[in-house]
């Protein structure tokens, strides 16, 4: 269940395709019947203001540990085959992909439910922080919605 922190722009579809090929080699084709993919990308607005770019800071070490532990919790709750999490850090511009969560399972319910669980847990627990650049200067995002 790999967790990747990327400091440069990435194409989430390439990551999913590459990882799915590795997964097929590992578990064999025909093992999964469902894959859910969540992609979160950067908007150029937040609440009531424009955002021209953003810096994403994280806590190296704890970030990876926290995401791995979230994956383990998902695996305890649902019969999932594998998970891929990729999260961007550093300087980000609108439309860049921030987060990718992909979950593979035999049936769709587990893939849907585990994906949602992982994404919500990531937003509330994984140590990342966003600082937006707005027309009035830098502004730390205070809480997740």
């Amino acid at each position: 269940m790999p967790v990747k922190i990327e400091s440069a722009a990435y194409n989430p579809f390439d990551f999913v395709q590459d990882y799915q090929q590795q997964l097929e080699k590992r578990v064999g084709q025909g093992q999964y019947g469902a894959a859910t993919i969540f992609i979160g990308s950067m908007r150029d607005f937040n609440e009531d203001h424009r955002v021209s770019n953003m810096t994403l800071e994280h806590y190296p070490g704890m970030t990876e540990a926290s995401l791995e532990s979230i994956c383990e919790e998902a695996k305890q709750q649902w019969p999932i085959l594998d998970v891929l999490i990729v999260h961007r850090v550093g300087e980000i511009t609108p439309n860049d992909t921030i987060v990718l969560v992909a979950v593979w399972s035999a049936h769709r319910a587990a893939a849907y439910d585990a994906n949602r669980f992982i994404m919500e847990a990531l937003k509330s627990r994984a140590p990342f922080w966003k600082k937006e650049l707005t027309p009035n200067g830098g502004k730390w995002v205070e809480h997740n919605t």
């Binding site: 999260h87 921030i98 994984a126 997740n144």
Partner: protein, 77 residues
Amino acid sequence: MSITVKFFASLREELNLDEVQLDPQPEMTALSVWQQATSKVNLPDKTLIAVNQEYAGDDVAVRDGDEVAFFPPVTGG
């Protein structure tokens, strides 16, 4: 050995502190580490604390060699 204290995001900027090393004292807690590292700035509401990269309360015991981090609510994803 020593205790490593880290600050992130808005806390790092407001305190102008990134990382500090403290000499261990008897019966340290996360809160006493905060007070020693910041020269007794009040711990802001909603500050999250991690000891050895796991979430902890402000009363958790801190020992020589531990890493203690303080940061605001997380906003990833």
